[in-house]
Amino acid sequence: MMESDAEVLGRVARRMIAAARYEMVMMLRKRSMWIVNGVIVLLLVLTSLSSFREALRDPDAQQSMARAAFLLNVLLPIGYGCLLADRLIRDTRLGVAPLLDATPTPAMGRLAGKYLGVCVAAAAPLAVVHFGFAILYSVTAGRPVALAWAAAGFAVVIAPAVLFVGAFALAVPLVMPAPLFRVLFVGYWFWGNLIGPTAMPTTAQSLLEPAGGYPIQELLGWHGDGAFTPAGPVPGASLNFLRPEPSPATAWLSIALLLALAAVVLAGAHAVRTRTTR
């Protein structure tokens, strides 16, 4: 009996969810994930203690949660980007790949499941810290609405960054050694997010900044501290064509571009894997 399109989709979705579930479990059981994230959070708290205090004292819950999301998104991706770098290549290293490739689940479905699973796991420590801060703020400031803003910040700032970084961290080590990827990724993160656009050509404060300058500014309403603005054209900087005037539309465009790039990279990973294994 022929399966309908809906049945085929349902079948593939079930396999994808299965892969996501077990990949997530395996990642969450990885002790180094909690240690690395713990160390980064500690560093972040120590180096940005005044910013967190300021966020905690800010009477505007929306501003406070946006600032917290930005602070987390500046450093924590370095940790999970490095941690996720072995997730796809290890199937071959461990010798599990032939066994899974011999199942009737399409490789692309498994890859998508693995991607979603490890991204959810990578987002777990971020969620603990982010929502932990939101709860602390809600209790101390008596503003439970902060939890809603924390959820919004997680959805439009942290999650797109996790999905963007996760795709590259899974895919790129297929074409270069994972340690090299980690070194290059840390370099990229500082270059692409933290270096001032007037210092050198960079994607910082542009639509392609995974730290999420546009959504933070336009969807969460945080316009930065002092002279620093998270998004928009920077006088005297190159690559300003990637920094249109901030608006809600450009904020959504920034998110869409990050997700589209992630999808392209994942499709590339699938193509590379298919070519090298068959």
């Binding site: 079948r11 396999r15 892969a19 479990v25 010798g95 032939p98 011999a102």
Partner: protein, 287 residues
């Protein structure tokens, strides 16, 4: 499921052919595949499991063309595959790993899946260790998990590549018996370089050498290849120089050698009845 292979060639980039115009028909039941390391057995297994694309030739399993996507998927739905270099996720327990593979194999119904996983853990005697992480498993225990995952979806085609490697003698016998039992209505393709595994389980077999088929027939047929070529030599002097020494055992008056070769290796050498290993060696000498 009948396997029909014709003109199958696989060439890896920068190397000679791993399989060279192979023609072979494998009927339903237990079938052995013998060959030295590098003979092309694993390449053939990987092509049959849909993991490798052949360079040329045709492979049909149960009527499905394995080289086409639809055919490959159809075969993989009824396939149990135990690869030679078996890998497992160290962070999962045996039960979780089997559950994961069962899901990927399409066993969606949770109670049925749990039941099947439990049954197979029992079959491979891992029930007591089912909830331990695979990281701590010995080589033999890992192999047993591999065997269990191959049997998950009640496969009609079972491809097992060097399945008894790493198993202790008792486990090996248990697994061989299990394979023989499974072979009733299924096709079980057993690839190995351990001749005894084939001798104890298969009626029919093929022998590969340098990617080519050098023998296809029965176990008795391969054994007959050594008729008149097996000798026993008892000597206190040097070992026989001609032929291949199969075994050397201490004897009251020196050493007793079992030799396979076309010529009598010593004047006092006595002809001996061949076994499958002798037949395999005699074939290797001729090809």
């Amino acid at each position: 499921m009948r396997i029909e292979i014709s003109g199958l060639t696989k060439t890896y980039r920068g190397k000679g052919p791993a399989l060279d115009r192979l023609d072979l028909v494998v009927p339903t039941g237990m079938f052995g595949l013998l060959g030295a390391n590098g003979a092309g057995k694993t390449t053939l297994m990987r092509i049959l499991a849909g993991l490798l694309r052949p360079t040329a030739g045709e492979v049909r399993i149960g009527g499905y063309d394995v080289t086409a996507r639809a055919g490959r998927l159809a075969v993989q739905r009824v396939l149990g595959y135990l690869p030679q270099d078996l890998g497992l996720y160290p962070d999962l327990t045996a039960r979780e790993f089997l559950d994961y593979v069962a899901l990927l194999k399409g066993i969606d119904d949770r109670p049925a899946r749990r039941r099947r996983v439990g049954e197979l853990l029992d079959v491979v005697a891992l029930t007591d260790d089912a909830d331990r992480r695979l990281r701590g498993f010995s080589g033999g225990m890992r192999r047993r998990v591999g065997i269990a995952q191959a049997l998950l979806a009640d496969p009609r085609l079972l491809i097992v590549d060097e399945p008894t490697a790493g198993l202790d003698p008792e486990e090996r016998i248990r697994f061989r018996t299990l394979l023989a039992k499974l072979a009733g209505q299924r096709t079980v393709l057993l690839s190995t370089h351990i001749v005894d595994d084939i001798a104890q389980t298969c009626r029919e077999l093929a022998v590969l050498s340098h990617g080519r088929l050098v023998f296809r027939g029965t176990v008795e047929g391969l054994t007959k290849q050594a008729d008149g070529r097996v000798w026993t030599v008892v000597t206190s002097g040097p070992a026989p120089a001609s032929g291949t020494i199969v075994s050397a055992l201490p004897h009251d008056t020196g050493m007793r050698y079992r030799v396979v070769g076309p010529q009598q290796p010593a004047p006092d050498a006595r002809p001996t009845d061949p076994n499958l290993e002798d037949g395999y060696l005699a074939l290797a000498q001729q090809s």
